[in-house]
């Protein structure tokens, strides 16, 4: 418990990181939502881009930043500086520290997503996710899969200098394929098919569907769950304490 408190305090001291994981998605939601007229124009079904599509994209942005950059950066630094090794001389062991790190990153993801929902409601009058049960399930499943991917990145990165590079090399293609710059609706068929199997793509789509009030597609849930199993298995196999 004290480990969780202390590590949370340490995380808050790294406030520049929080700018990227918390404030950037919020700022993009508001600034682009207000400045691009198309974002607030209702489509045939009466839904605006800023209601479900854009906030679920921002949720993904926050979670990808956490799992591709924040989590690996912390873990690789801890490994490199011998923090994990030091822990392994105590009765608590380094496994607990790893668990606490995952918990903290999940916590930041939850806080950011909650803020996105509240901000959307305040600024644009958007509704909270309409299928809340599905939304929470999808969120937890997808976040777990992405954090497991972050553990794999941390295992592969040889040192703390390379870790951010690897993180970015993973994150930006995923953001693209998930529809950050070209929404999935207008993607060419081939691209959308690739997107459907990219873990981030189906995760974003499932978040959006449940946000807009539909049940997520089975395919998308299966791909995200498969991502969790694959990355989780790899993380267990590859993770290095020193």
């Amino acid at each position: 418990m004290k480990l969780l408190v202390t590590e949370t305090k340490l995380h808050l001291r790294e406030w520049p990181l929080l700018l990227f994981t918390v404030l950037l998605p919020l700022a993009l939601l508001v600034v682009l939502g207000l400045s691009i007229p198309d974002f607030t124009r209702a489509d045939a079904g009466g839904e605006r881009f800023v209601d479900a599509q854009w906030p679920s994209m921002m949720t993904l942005l926050s979670l990808l930043t956490l799992s591709c950059s924040a989590l690996p950066a912390t873990l690789v630094t801890y490994r490199e500086q011998g923090v994990l090794r030091r822990m392994s001389t105590t009765p608590v062991g380094p496994g607990r520290l790893l668990g606490v790190q995952l918990l903290i990153n999940l916590g930041i993801g939850i806080v950011t997503t909650t803020l996105l929902i509240l901000t959307g409601a305040l600024v644009f009058g958007s509704a909270a996710p309409r299928q809340m049960g599905w939304f929470v399930l999808v969120f937890l499943l997808g976040t777990a899969a992405l954090l497991a991917m972050g553990l794999v990145i941390a295992s592969l990165a040889p040192n703390a200098k390379v870790a951010p590079g690897i993180g970015s090399a993973v994150m930006f293609p995923l953001m693209f394929i998930a529809g950050m710059w070209v929404p999935r609706d207008v993607m060419p068929d081939v691209l959308r098919m690739i997107s459907d199997y990219s873990v981030a793509g189906p995760f974003a789509q499932a978040l959006r569907d449940s946000w807009a009030g539909q049940a997520p597609q089975l395919l998308h849930l299966v791909v995200v769950a498969a991502g969790l199993i694959v990355f989780g298995g790899l993380a267990v196999r590859l993770f290095r304490w020193e």
Binding site: T89, T90, P91
Partner: protein, 301 residues
Amino acid sequence: MKVIEVRNLRKQYPNHLAVADVSFEVAEGEIFGILGPNGAGKTTTVECVAGLRERDGGTVRVAGLDPATDRDELRRVLGMQIQSAALPEKIKVWEALDLYASFYPDPADWRELLERVGLGPKRDTAFKKLSGGQRQRLSVALALVGRPRVAVLDELTTGLDPQARRDTWELIEQVRTSGVTIVLVTHFMEEAERLCDRIALIDAGRVVATDTPAGLIAQVGGEQRLRFRPSAPVDDALLLALPEVREVSRSGEQVVVTGSGNLAPAVTLALAHHQVVPGDLRIEQATLDDAFLALTGRKLS
């Protein structure tokens, strides 16, 4: 009572044999030194003792526990300061102690420990901002905060300036009085000589000798060397006639006398007898370095 027993320890890494055959025993309350050059297998040895690495052969017991099978219990009786292991940069001194104290069932009062290692004024300082000596003192405190029976300190003073090194030595001498058994890994002869009750000299994965510092030096014959500049010419035969003297040599005006026993008084007395004053008189005694050289044929550092 033996608190640590190591018999025929062996550890093979993929490319080389780090520990070939190491045996030693450490008594309760002792400061036991493991001394040897870099790469001798010292760190691997204590890592096997602390259960951080799995040994390939031999037996190890720490307070009756086998590090290979009783890891969890071992963590509670053995505190360890590892070479080059750090803390998160922004953790404050008190937070680190408070956190590590929470890992143990019956921890020491960390506030008192903080004062004892002389970090009271640095309570709220981030780890990153501590000097090398302060970091090592915090490291010692963290190794002791769980009230261990055994504390392993690995290369505690490597990389410290002479003042910080001396401060750290004083801290270890203080810790000794609290009754904790200490295993000190070092490649500094001076450090081992000053702090340790007994020393195991390790070279190339084997124990070369185990004894008190004085005992080790005595093993190589306890030779002494006297250097001086005589005020008047001295005949070598005059000095060689003394039973304590083994050899006399000269370098320039300087006379170097090698021997044992009460060499210094015997020589100065003989000189005085012939109205010769030994100027710039210096006495050099054998050191652990010499002992190591004699036992292995190699220099320690």
